[in-house]
Symmetry: C2
Subunit: 340 residues, 2 copies
């Protein structure tokens, strides 16, 4: 059955049917339900081009998902995805995900952007001097950047957490508690957020006349096992740090495991601060000693980005806002005075 | 610039351009790259209908994602998504995700299936007597079910873990160790997997002349906080169980936290078994006392389902296989003899 036949069968115009099936709010709920039921019963599948003709839009946001046999699923990805999903559901949008080998991310993005199947692009996992921003500017499709790219002029639409200030604040707190041999369990090298967090720690130490020792800095994926391994390496040193800052509560999970194995208590024997993306599975208050954190919700960021992007798509107006969220420093039991 | 103009500009046929932009392997890598670069530079966005005309396919798998302000992001969802993504990337497919309020899942699925933007549907979060299977059978689009639906004749294509046998095996192990006051921290009520796991525990106890006490069974979402809360309730009872089976390592995380608070050691004071979906963040060996588990990888299941679905889509041949995976019982330190 084609659109014309379905239209005759129902006595409803082809345009209304297209709008209803594409989730546009102009069609009232009852008519919409009637159309969807009929489409189901008759096995009708609309021509996507006809829908676009009627609405001018696909109602979709595209994004690239890094994947591969050696690539662990990333709990942070699931979290911002849930925010994107919530805002999309509210606006009748869907998500188009292009899974790809991380080494091929730029090409995957290009293909997605020119595929014609998405109305806007969500960009994440930003690197320093990221060429994808220039590429997106050259395409005629709205986009929003989650994060920023050091080295690229900030004239594109983004939402970022102020990572530098967050990690500066965390370091300042530790300095006030008498720590200066401070270590940083950072995320993977090359990413913008990793770089800015490093700068924040370095700057705060520098302002107090200290330096961030190179052997106090590690880069790794942000999971439990990496946190354990990096912490074990640090604690094996004679001149081991008295305080540790972790780039994620997922790293902190492993770091605390290492402390437990050695009978060391966070806040008493060693101070610990983690960045809290507000992952539901790893709440800082549920650690054996509640974690001091810099907090900023990844899900809230995903939600806000989707809303800005959908607004761009629906209005046709460009969005050129550079939005910076301040992370909140939340002091709990895992930080304490340096032992002399 | 339209397809015709781009074709003239490059001296490449419209069909080849459409095929290249849709990721079909007939086009050689160099031509493909040239076309994508030109599409990017000229801001060309193809007509999706033209692509479908050339290829007959969208190259996409659709699925529904439960979401909402009161709905926590689910670590299990991210895990099977990574498997779907890996198989899709390998086959040049993308994923179309329809986010929706959990109460509206059936309608969302119907809309996605009739939207014309997907070639096949991945179905998950199966309930008992799930009406979605009958609905999918009435549509002319390939689908694959992750899980099964109790009460629906098993003549549709699915992949499921043998949940009943897995939990029967776990219970039998506990019975051999002398436990019979056994509790089950189960997933949410109404789901097929929850129901079958309950049956497995019940059957094994019954075969040994015991019964599963109703106050030893709880239903909840499968996360850390629910695990903690349910375990606290069980441990507060005078006749508390001597062994616990958890439906997820995420529940076990909270359950162990409750034991730690009370100074109880898994395997010595109380026995603990969890179902292990092989979530990278919650490895059973990394628990303070390594967890005895029934193991079956969610990611591997996602991967296998995507491969079967893509094969259906590409071949046009129906898939009517009922595939059942046996979970592996892995005995570690968290189980021990019942104390008399």
């Amino acid at each position: 059955m084609n659109l014309k036949q379905l239209s005759q069968h129902l006595g409803i115009s082809q345009t209304t049917i297209s709008r209803a099936l594409n989730g546009y709010p102009e069609v009232n709920a009852e008519t919409r339900r009637k159309i969807i039921d009929a489409a189901q019963k008759t096995g009708y599948r609309p021509n996507v081009a006809a829908q676009r003709l009627a609405t001018g839009k696909m109602g979709s946001i595209g994004l690239v998902m890094p994947t591969g046999p050696d690539y662990q699923s990333d709990v942070h990805f699931g979290e911002f995805l849930s925010g994107l999903g919530e805002a999309s559901a509210r606006n009748g949008f869907h998500l188009v995900i292009m899974p790809t080998d991380p080494a091929n991310e730029e090409n995957a993005l290009k293909e997605l952007a020119v595929s014609g199947s998405v109305d806007g692009i969500y960009l994440a996992y930003m690197k320093k001097n990221d060429p994808r921003i220039e590429m997106m500017k050259g395409l005629s499709i709205p986009f929003m950047v989650h994060g920023r790219s050091w080295g690229v002029e900030a004239d594109y639409p983004f939402l970022d957490v102020d990572n530098e200030t967050a990690f500066h604040d965390a370091t300042s707190l530790l300095l006030q508690l008498g720590h200066h041999n401070i270590a940083l369990l950072n995320g993977p090298e090359g990413y913008d957020f990793t770089f800015r967090r490093h700068r924040g720690v370095e700057a705060a130490l520098g302002e107090s006349g200290y330096t961030l020792r190179q052997d106090n800095v590690s880069h790794s994926i942000m999971n439990d096992e990496a946190g354990f391994l990096k912490m074990e390496q640090l604690l094996s040193r004679a001149d081991r740090p008295t305080a540790i800052i972790c780039a994620s509560t997922a790293l902190a999970l492993g770091a605390v495991r290492s402390l437990n194995h050695r009978g060391l208590k966070p806040g008493r024997d060693i101070s610990l601060i983690a960045h809290d993306d507000v992952l539901p599975l790893l709440k800082p208050v549920n650690f054996s000693v509640p974690l001091t954190t810099t907090r900023s919700s990844l899900r809230a960021a995903g939600l806000r980005i989707a809303e800005r992007l959908i607004k761009q798509i629906k209005s046709g107006q460009p969005d050129n806002q550079q939005e910076l969220w301040k992370a909140e420093l939340v002091v709990r039991g895992s930080t304490g005075p340096a032992r002399v």
